[in-house]
């Protein structure tokens, strides 16, 4: 990457070669920009793109909108416009190959800003992952809004030549294509044959016909192939960028700017804690301040003296996040596990994992506790007790559990109803209110946030209205869709 940042402002020349540089709204960012820009513009472009990516992240991870669904597109466009990011709104609304001055300018900014963020986000694995996920969402969104002719131009410009299979070959497998491709009217679709590992997202979701190592995809699934290539390209280049970071590290202001970018919004990731929580208090604290997912794991561990891998990971990281030290953690797990196994076996098979969670083994990363979204979307299999109980429990089981905790009928049925409607985090918020006997209406997006908010209330740092009886009525349930889950309430 080759940035020259000037301190003095110069006008960007509107030259004729912009057409060659930026013929299409959608880019694969193969070539870094070479022009000189001012520090001022550098900063503006960077911040604007962080905001763009942040909008995407809000839409998918906090609001749980399905990528490219109508609500998703609407939310993103409105949010971008509200922030005054018109050129991004334009690029996200349609991808074409227009040639007005505004078109070129938008593409130029898009191009430069993307490369600036590569520098800002290449430093750590965690940042890289966040960045790649967002850029991919952006790419997929923009690919999806691209229309007929623009698609062809895009393929041609990027030398993407794939050939479709012959009618004969298609007819041979037509029955399978009908069964295994999630679209109707297969008959007049053209199909491509690519290696299965080029479309892993389709394989994973079982949405493509596979035969002998090849995936048969219709044109509209081509985005999977491109997204996979784009992901690889980004991954490699972020790794490279990381190596070259030192070259720009001489400019201090630039360094500060790049380092500060992500923090400028991301807030707490709960991988650092302040207070220490003694393990002796876990039994009582788990009923007062734990979200249900963790309370359930705690109970299971006490009953069975064992948790399967997924449970150990989810609960172990949570404990770390609330302030249980590594030494305490080891002691805590050991005391339970050795009720059903030799100390030796524990030390050999399980202690490693505990230390691993604390970044003391293996890749030595400081792992963050899981967010609700991650927990809700996790896989749970036979014998597993982790996951989010509002999502991963049968209605009857959930109901009995809550009744067993002594909640009123009304509360129990409210929570169960919300879970049924897949409003898991809102159900969790109700649970929060129920154990604190208050109406906080907290937006919950992280178990550790749940814990911290609860502690604040218990320690009296946060005053809450004690609950007025009979307040739980239908209208609350209905208005909940409008609740804002953007930020944890402080």
């Amino acid at each position: 990457m080759d940035f020259k940042v000037k301190r003095k402002s110069t006008k960007t020349p509107a030259t004729g070669n912009q057409f060659e540089l930026y013929p299409h709204d959608l880019q694969l960012y193969k070539i870094p920009p070479v022009e000189n820009i001012t520090l001022q513009e550098f900063e503006t472009l960077a911040l604007e793109r962080v905001n763009l990516l942040r909008t995407l992240s809000t839409a998918t991870t906090l609001r749980g909108l399905r990528l490219n669904s109508e609500e998703f597109v609407e939310f993103v466009l409105n949010d971008l416009r509200a922030q005054g990011l018109k050129y991004y709104a334009k690029l996200c609304e349609k991808s074409g190959c227009g040639s007005t001055k505004a078109d070129f300018e938008a593409r130029r900014k898009d191009h430069i800003a993307h490369f600036i963020l590569r520098l800002a986000y290449c430093r750590t694995e965690e940042l890289r992952r966040w960045f790649i996920a967002r850029e991919l969402e952006l790419f997929k969104m923009r690919f999806a809004v691209m229309r007929g002719e623009a698609v062809e131009v895009f393929f041609k410009l990027n030398n993407l030549c794939y050939t479709t299979i012959s009618e004969d070959e298609k007819n041979e497998v037509i029955q399978n294509l009908i069964e295994s491709t999630p679209y109707s009217k297969i008959d007049n679709m053209k199909f491509y044959k690519v290696k299965f590992f080029e479309v892993l997202d389709l394989v994973k979701a079982r949405k493509v016909f596979l035969n002998d190592g090849y995936a048969y995809i219709p044109h509209r699934d081509f985005i999977s192939v491109l997204a996979a290539q784009y992901r690889t390209h980004l991954k490699q280049n972020l790794a490279k960028a990381c190596h070259h970071l030192c070259e720009i590290e001489q400019d201090e202001r630039l360094v500060c700017l790049l380092k500060g970018l992500h923090q400028s919004y991301s807030g707490n990731d709960y991988s650092e804690t302040k207070a220490v929580i003694p393990i002796e208090s876990l039994d009582s604290i788990s009923t007062k301040s734990f979200p249900l997912c963790m309370r359930q794991l705690h109970e299971q561990l006490r009953i069975a003296h064992h948790l399967k891998h997924g449970g150990r990971l989810q609960y172990g990281l949570f404990l770390k996040g609330i302030g249980v030290t590594l030494e305490d953690s080891l002691r805590f797990w050991r005391e339970e596990f050795i009720k059903i196994m030799d100390l030796d076996k524990f030390e050999k098979q399980y202690a490693y994992n505990v230390r691993y969670n604390y970044g003391k083994e293996g890749s030595k990363r400081n792992y963050s506790p899981f967010s609700c979204l991650k927990i809700i979307n996790t896989n749970v299999g036979p014998g597993d007790c982790h996951g989010c109980p509002f999502r991963h429990c049968d209605t009857g089981v959930l109901k009995n559990k809550l009744i067993g905790y002594g909640f009123s009928h009304q509360v129990v049925s409210d929570i169960v109803e919300l879970s049924k409607k897949t409003h898991f985090q809102i159900a969790c918020s109700k649970y929060f209110d129920a154990i604190h006997n208050a109406d906080v209406g907290l937006g919950i997006n992280h178990p550790n946030q749940f814990f911290e908010e609860s502690q604040k209330i218990l320690k009296g740092e946060l005053k809450v209205q004690p609950k007025k009886e009979n307040l739980v009525k239908k209208d609350i349930v209905d208005s909940i869709d409008a609740m804002d889950f953007d930020e944890p309430l402080e």
């Binding site: 394989v203 979701a205 050999k348 896989n379 299999g381 036979p382 089981v397």
Partner: protein
């Protein structure tokens, strides 16, 4: 009869087993081939010794090393790990995993919520059928869907089976790739707190699911008889699989009045279901594939997906001895899984003691297993040589 299994005498017998019975040569060739283009010495082996000492990051350069190492350490458990960019003992934490066979681990303990004949570590001929079905379904998918050829099936030594795919494409697959394959093959999801674990929606069934169902159908009635899934004391968990309340109560009333066996109850259930669908066309969306879902929940392979997704999960080596049972982790052909009888599997005792009655039979079985292993390795070596040649050709073009 073979005497009781005794962990203490293992230490005396293992050196002889490793020297005389363990197919060292072919094992090394399999490992080497599955490590290329990295050298054999970049492959991690791990040993668990008699006193449970666990040695990781071991490696060998050729068969002679293996022989010495086995004699010197006499491992009670022998595991195979990943291939690194350097000798694993040198690199330790800095070593990078380059490749690894794509592996699957299917264990009968994951069937505890449905099998009725045994629990936990026990296994009998009846529940072994779950493994037969699992093997057939996974094997077919790996071959037909993913185009893999070098697929090794191994008895885990106690109550499960392992599968190693050595095709180059499989070995070099990254973790998202492994994850995608695992998810593609995994139909049973949901934890302790969810009864119904299979949801097929109401669109067309994917070809791979149809194929799996055809396989299941070959065994379903037999399993139903063996396991009595619908026996009176199991009926409640069966009813929980029916998401439609009206249908559920109809089924409940009728089946509660019926006598065993489950097969009759099952057929009655199908009748009720079909009538119900005919009469209530509008509710059919939710229960369109109910029969299929139930069959899958009762019969479909329950994979330990973490083993498949993880790149460097250590897995028990073929032909090693299971320390708890003394049984050999024999290799078998997928087509032959149904003929594999648990008590015909050679044990270290039956092989080394020619006074036991099974000695002859077990020796023959051991030889047959080694032969299957050999054939697979020969084929793998051939493909690998061809791949190298064509790689050399393409690189000349540049």
């Amino acid at each position: 009869m073979i005497g009781e299994h005794n962990e203490n005498i293992l230490s005396d017998m293992l050196p002889t087993y490793y020297a005389r019975q363990f197919p060292q040569n072919i094992f090394c060739r399999w490992l080497a081939c599955g490590s290329s283009p990295q050298p054999l010495c970049n492959r991690e082996l791990s040993f668990t010794l008699a006193d449970d000492v666990y040695l990781r990051y071991l490696s060998i350069s050729h068969q002679k090393d293996l022989q010495t190492l086995l004699q010197k350490k006499c491992p009670h458990k022998l595991d195979v790990g990943a291939v690194y960019n350097t000798k694993p003992s040198v690199g330790r934490h800095d070593a990078v995993v380059i490749s690894r066979e794509l592996v699957f681990d299917i264990d009968l303990t994951d069937y505890d919520e449905i099998r009725t004949c045994c629990q936990e570590a026990r296994v009998c001929e009846k529940c072994w059928k779950f493994m037969v079905i699992a093997c057939e379904i996974i094997d077919k998918a790996l071959k037909d869907d993913f185009g893999f050829q070098s697929i090794l099936w191994v008895f885990s030594g106690r109550r499960g089976i392992h599968c190693w795919v050595s095709d180059y494409e499989a070995r070099t697959l990254d973790s998202p790739g492994r994850g995608a394959i695992a998810d593609y093959l995994c139909l049973i999801v949901g934890g302790e707190n969810q009864s119904k674990k299979v949801h097929l929606g109401n669109e067309n069934l994917h070809s791979s699911i149809r194929r799996a169902l055809n396989i299941i159908d070959k065994y379903f009635e037999q399993l139903l008889q063996d396991q009595e899934f619908l026996a009176t004391d199991k009926l409640n968990s069966f009813l929980k699989l029916i998401p439609d309340d009206a249908l559920k109560s109809q089924v409940e009333t009728t089946l509660k009045k019926m006598q065993e066996p489950s097969l009759n109850k099952w057929n009655t259930f199908i009748n009720i279901y079909e009538n119900y669908c005919r009469e209530n066309g509008n509710v059919i969306r939710k229960i369109k594939y109910l029969i299929e879902e139930i069959k899958i929940q009762y019969c479909y392979p329950r994979l330990d997906v973490n083993v498949t997704k993880g790149f460097n999960h250590l897995l028990k080596s073929p032909f090693s001895i299971h320390p708890k049972t003394g049984k050999v982790s024999v290799v078998f052909k997928s087509a032959n899984a149904k003929n594999l009888k648990i008590d015909e599997i050679p044990t270290i005792y039956s092989l080394l003691d020619d006074s036991v009655a099974e000695n002859n039979q077990h020796e023959t079985n051991m030889k047959a297993a080694v032969k299957i292993f050999q054939e697979l390795v020969f084929a793998l070596e051939k493909t690998e040589a061809m791949r190298k040649r064509s790689d050399a050709n393409t690189s000349l073009d540049f």
